[in-house]
Symmetry: C2
Subunit: 226 residues, 2 copies
């Protein structure tokens, strides 16, 4: 199996180089008192809608900027920009995740000294983004009811590497056979004590608890700096 | 950017080696008169449910076997096996797609001489599987209403490389702002004249047209052999 043995060391090198650059990103963010939150999700989980609602709720309190990762188009960064914040689109040109180099290039286009909160929307993917650290302070996974209650079991790496799980589209629970206990047991087994926010970005149900947690986290990082 | 320049040639080598093995898989399938269909989709699009319905509808007509790819668990292969067909689970252990080597190993565990139709369920991912040919005769993308109508625009590679697009969960259209014309225009721009099947694997609406198309395709491949 020459293909497999050849790729392993190269992948390790890439991940090591990425971790190194992620730490550089984090140092830069810390120096400028900017808290970065990396949102990851499957395609169509509602990342952009939730991010737009979150920006609208918090933009009176923090100076916010956004970075959006997609294979193609600027559809999502356009939606972020409509909230009035500065948004940078990264088109990965086929790559299934953002990496630390891409974020480094995006950070160069943002006035970090005047940014308290940086919202990063990763490429829609439940697998690849988990392997590539960006240097963000918080990693948040947005799951959604239509994806089904078995996703923690089938995509464990993604659920292990985050500080919070949001379950979006709970307004659709009546239309799906979604076993909330089964879902939560799966999350809890992978990531015990994880913060969990069932909500609907569409109807607004559950959003306040999520906003409060995020504010508490962001203030915690900012206080440690001052 | 040493990371980027280093990875490019290696990725090309892997893809070339993969294409070579995919052709070997295809030759083996052709020699045994087995038609292989590779189903790809985002996590939670309803791949397994649709596959189970398809097996149930066609198993009186063809001798069917299944291969299921997942990061972890045998949840999906178990569901396939419940229909009475022989099912092989591939756990990729983190990889975001099946590749031709994985399928080659799975084919060795199937009695291809007694299999007319091989159903392959790829890893839930809208990006990676598009780059790795397996040697299947047909590649089918299962989209779903909750993912949103903008997915052809944001994941063009996946939509370009398939012979049919299924739009699953149309029973949920009343609950979503899903613009069918916008979706179809996106598909048509990427893959003109593509076969398109809006359906609900849950309610059964639209399934017959999909079954008829699949039977027509499978018979076409089998006839060419005899």
């Amino acid at each position: 199996m020459p293909v497999t043995t050849k790729t392993v060391p190269v992948v390790e090198n890439i991940l090591k180089a990425n971790d190194h650059l992620a730490q550089a990103n984090r140092d830069l963010l810390d120096r400028t008192d900017t808290v970065a939150v990396n949102f990851m999700a499957s395609p169509g989980a509602g990342k952009t809608t939730l991010i737009v609602r979150t920006i609208q709720a918090l933009k009176g309190q923090y100076r916010i900027a956004g970075v959006d990762g997609d294979i193609a188009t600027t559809l999502d960064a356009d939606r972020m920009a409509e909230t009035g914040v500065h948004a940078v689109q990264i088109n990965t040109g086929g790559a299934c995740h953002l990496d630390a180099v891409m974020l480094q290039n995006a950070l160069a286009q943002i006035d970090l000294e005047r940014t308290d909160l940086l919202i990063i929307e990763n490429v829609g993917n439940l697998i690849c983004p988990a392997s590539f650290q960006l240097g963000a302070h918080l990693n948040v996974l947005i799951a959604s009811v239509p994806e089904g209650d078995d996703k923690p079991y089938k995509y464990p790496t993604m659920y292990r590497g985050v500080q919070a799980v949001i379950l979006n589209k709970i307004d659709l629970l009546p239309h799906f056979d979604f076993d909330m206990d089964y879902f939560r047991r799966g999350v809890e087994a992978l990531n015990p004590g994880l913060s969990f926010f069932p909500l609907s970005a569409k109807t607004g149900e559950g959003l306040d608890a999520w906003f409060q947690w995020l504010i508490w986290q962001v203030d915690g990082f900012l206080d440690r700096k001052t």
